[in-house]
Symmetry: D2
Subunit: 373 residues, 4 copies
Amino acid sequence: MTRARLRDLGIAIGVLATGAHNAITDVAGVRVGHTTLISGEGALVPGRGPVRTGVTVILPHGGNLFRDKVHAAVHTINGFGKVFGFEQVRELGLIESPVALTNTLNVGLVADALVQHAIEQNPAIGISTSSVNVVVGETNDGYLNDLQGRHVRAEHVRAAIASAAAGPVAEGAVGAGTGTTCFGWKGGIGTSSRVVPPQDGGFTMGALVQSNFGGARDLMVNGVPVGLHLRPPDAPTRPVRDAGSIMMVLATDAPLTSRQLRRLCARAAAGLARTGSVYAHGSGDFVITFSTAEPSAHEPASLTAARTVLADEARAMRWLFPAVVEAVEEAIVNSLFRAETTVGRDGHTAYGLPIADAAALVREYQQQTGAAT
Amino acid sequence: MTRARLRDLGIAIGVLATGAHNAITDVAGVRVGHTTLISGEGALVPGRGPVRTGVTVILPHGGNLFRDKVHAAVHTINGFGKVFGFEQVRELGLIESPVALTNTLNVGLVADALVQHAIEQNPAIGISTSSVNVVVGETNDGYLNDLQGRHVRAEHVRAAIASAAAGPVAEGAVGAGTGTTCFGWKGGIGTSSRVVPPQDGGFTMGALVQSNFGGARDLMVNGVPVGLHLRPPDAPTRPVRDAGSIMMVLATDAPLTSRQLRRLCARAAAGLARTGSVYAHGSGDFVITFSTAEPSAHEPASLTAARTVLADEARAMRWLFPAVVEAVEEAIVNSLFRAETTVGRDGHTAYGLPIADAAALVREYQQQTGAAT
Amino acid sequence: MTRARLRDLGIAIGVLATGAHNAITDVAGVRVGHTTLISGEGALVPGRGPVRTGVTVILPHGGNLFRDKVHAAVHTINGFGKVFGFEQVRELGLIESPVALTNTLNVGLVADALVQHAIEQNPAIGISTSSVNVVVGETNDGYLNDLQGRHVRAEHVRAAIASAAAGPVAEGAVGAGTGTTCFGWKGGIGTSSRVVPPQDGGFTMGALVQSNFGGARDLMVNGVPVGLHLRPPDAPTRPVRDAGSIMMVLATDAPLTSRQLRRLCARAAAGLARTGSVYAHGSGDFVITFSTAEPSAHEPASLTAARTVLADEARAMRWLFPAVVEAVEEAIVNSLFRAETTVGRDGHTAYGLPIADAAALVREYQQQTGAAT
Amino acid sequence: MTRARLRDLGIAIGVLATGAHNAITDVAGVRVGHTTLISGEGALVPGRGPVRTGVTVILPHGGNLFRDKVHAAVHTINGFGKVFGFEQVRELGLIESPVALTNTLNVGLVADALVQHAIEQNPAIGISTSSVNVVVGETNDGYLNDLQGRHVRAEHVRAAIASAAAGPVAEGAVGAGTGTTCFGWKGGIGTSSRVVPPQDGGFTMGALVQSNFGGARDLMVNGVPVGLHLRPPDAPTRPVRDAGSIMMVLATDAPLTSRQLRRLCARAAAGLARTGSVYAHGSGDFVITFSTAEPSAHEPASLTAARTVLADEARAMRWLFPAVVEAVEEAIVNSLFRAETTVGRDGHTAYGLPIADAAALVREYQQQTGAAT
């Protein structure tokens, strides 16, 4: 993992400051874990391999999520995808399990593993208390991976949860991003964060994406049409696909209602658009947002719950909208910058974006800006 | 299965005629299959049993659903539930797999089994063509069943599909209805159908439900407050629950767009309300509707597709709305009338509704109507 | 207004107690005002008359609604209608004007009158502060009224607001209900309320409807198919229409978020269904719900707002769901019971429901219930 | 109108070709008309002036829209706005009136004027046939205009409709764009179009916007952060506002269902984001899309309607998504390039963007692209 992130190369997207790690984990309490599955090479043998896939989990806090649920919202930009758990989040405005990302055909098994995990933590589930709603997202890594094999099993989900940690987040070809491709290059996991100015509340907004969409020609980095200049070596022969997908997970410590969190979800679409996406037909583009502030108890102690939430008119709210846009855009770019060239099934190769060239292009454009700000 | 259906006892809901079997299978091509899992008794041992659950599958047609998708819509009345596959149906207006119903915590495994089934029928999935979106619904049968055990496995789904047939449909404590309860009584699978008058198109509308909601006091049958008169033997001691859920699957041979099918979905809420439901907080109430007319090819032969659809203003459309309401109401009542007393985990007992008493109550009320129509 | 309400005749819908006036005004602070427009008779002269229409306003509180907005939600059961202001209520969860009901083609002018009213109370609107979102609903009274004439003008809206009062609410052929028809009979304005048991919070839920839907055959009162027995004198010759519409306005003093208020909205569909509606194609069926608890200031004093809201799991929430269903059902029945026979354009006559006969029918059925409860 | 459009200055957004006029009127049959209201100057006298507002109408075809409705969809990106007619378009998938754009507080009166227009063309409305659903959008031009005055009256709407024409479309400070501001500059009406390659169907997609959003710093043109370099002269003293709004109207001759048209609507968000919008809190961002192909008759001649629609998988559909994104982005930029400096109420001035400087900036950036494509 010697590849640099965008900001390491002197290129900053937007105007807001990042958190300490420029990662979703900058939101206090949020933890991320990956299990990366790589095995075999050569010709695809469905059900056997090669395997280039994995699972990534995002834990809103380190406690028992079923007992202390986080306020949340979901949003579908383009519904060509197989997410799990969205209906209940829409109805109740809560998430009560880790959020897991994986490959498209593995959603059922990963959801089952999350159910098992919740039961182990909460033996009363389905016996003396309600059942549990788990949340899973996915993108299709079938270009590199034996998708039919559904190689992510319960033990891999368990390991990802066990390894989840605060601090820096591994990006690129790891976890659920092991086998994905983006703008014709190797994509994967990317993350970024933004901080609201202290005088306006100082809240943190973090984004983590699983990128797997777009054609090579369309890539834009910080407004620069990098895709017009840089193309993967196999671009001429590679099938044009408008398929793909992206999962975007947002976290914040700002105290917000599910209505307000849904509004933040909707802004992720702007960040996505600025990288070159047109939310293509075959791309399932989904957003999941949660707030770590004031979790909701599974068994409330009283009839009413006092919550302190941001006013829609608060200056903090106005910062959170561009914070989402900037963090999503940079998370997507980081997913490209950090992903190593990966060879998968049938010798399919997803090349790592040549980051020096890409950064040079962006800088050349930006020289025009001189002292501007 | 000697228990009678409502209509066998001389009580007809609504004004429209039923199809030949008064079942969802009256829609030509639709097939239903169940796998019923019953084993063990006595004290609950989580993960072991007792088992009172199963899976029910509805096949829109007898061909390859992935190759020939049916136009469809979904609708969420109350989203406290864990359905699978809804986002893509909303976006694309198509169903491309059997629709499966099962218990709440089993959705992941059943979804995975449907994926496996689709792959077996279509080896290109995820390799040289797109992935597959499967549709699964659920209700919580944990009062009778070892819910944590997720006892429905791939082979049970496979068996349900293999056994799916046209003609009469087994109702009550079978398949996904094996362990459910409804209005304090044993609930389960119920079905009904309606036929649009021949001069207005003669289309068939069928409903199949998995009933698992409601308190004993609330039950209404054909407008008669049966719940005020009949109570289960254990009503005084049984915990009051507003949990529960209902899955409602609607099928029609009328040629409709996904927009129109969504409108039919919304009318299921009226049929449900007439049985006494208030869409309680803990009840996940979902509707899935498909049309068997003019399936959509996975790989269209041409740029455009010519479809012949009903005009919104057509008289047939006006009949289809009450047809949904009547069929859903009767399907729910049938699920009660047909369900045998079932003893499950920890000796929990869901009693079969005393149908002679219930029917007598309804008839007494109806005697008031005399020659009315 | 000598016609009795349903409950005056000894028939109670549901199990919950009503408020003092069995009206939406039982929610403290809520006020209702009507302007009734009746002029001319005989042949329709479009733009002239006869006029049988009006406007009804519901004021969530007696203060300045733009300064102190109420938390709110809206819900569309069937969108065949021309409501005003829904998008912003969905986005922000607030209502900041009186809610007005009128005839279909008059929505634009009534909205404009509400804008004028808001400006008069708040001269800064659109100059030094934001604009105002007004909320208007409608049904089509064209069977009795010169609909094209749009006879409701600004002065009528102003008069309705000025006359708005707490306490008993005029029902039937008044205000926005002057010219509407329902189940083939004269419909109009109806209202009802329910009170959550004191030990569970004692909150009040009120409903007010403008009823204008349904065919004569379909009417049910408290589960009794009254429409099978009682038909309007002109039923045989009257055109069968599935058009119509209903506006349902709900008020509560329970402290709820817009998400929770949207859930209450959705339960109105159950109350509507129990009167015989199938949400017919041509019927615009809409719900508007607000909470009078803890209004939201136009210019919040601080960055955050502390709100105390009911937990979803609170027993009070469980009562509020059936409270909506019961209040809506009874409000619709009241709109029929209280509406006098009205002769309108072209001699079209909407007969008042023969309430003695209807009540007798319901009581006969109910005698079957004996001492049951 | 001597100001150039973006493309006149040698800058092309995207890769698709434009139609003949690079305007929404490139979709055959579509006509656009404006009424521009300018009067008074100096201090604001609410209700009197100065007046800087107007109305713009888009006619999907030149016939009777109520008799021959066009398939349509609407989409709300941020619902802080007062659009009219959206609920019925969502339910029925049809538009049956001209689409009108105006100022925020004028929506009621403009809607009423459209109702009057529909009645004049169709005297049966509300008498012997159904009522009419009109569609109106708005943005807040109160920085320059006497918003409270609601100066757009029926005669102005009538004049706009009467003047509606095919061919080139007046842009900038005209019609509904007379008083709007965008990215701190004078905004207004802008339009653009794209054509699908002939071998893939050759369909046309047109966009027309009423732009009124954004802060000066945020403006991007073709990916270039113009807002970092160019600021309005009064930028330092001007109040920072995240208010504003944008209406986006899309037209196409591609034969699409309302479901597919809704998908096109959603892609407008990407075009909007690329100009620098984050869909700010106070910005009502709405999309209206219609297809001129195969209108739907008010009174269908037969039970069923045969429609020929594009397959989702058709190559044409894949082009239509970027076509929306490109046309919306360019329409917004055109609205800025074409708008003259306008002085309004209280001497408030919205400066025309210095287009030579802006274009030079974009070209400098683009020189980096060399021979790339």
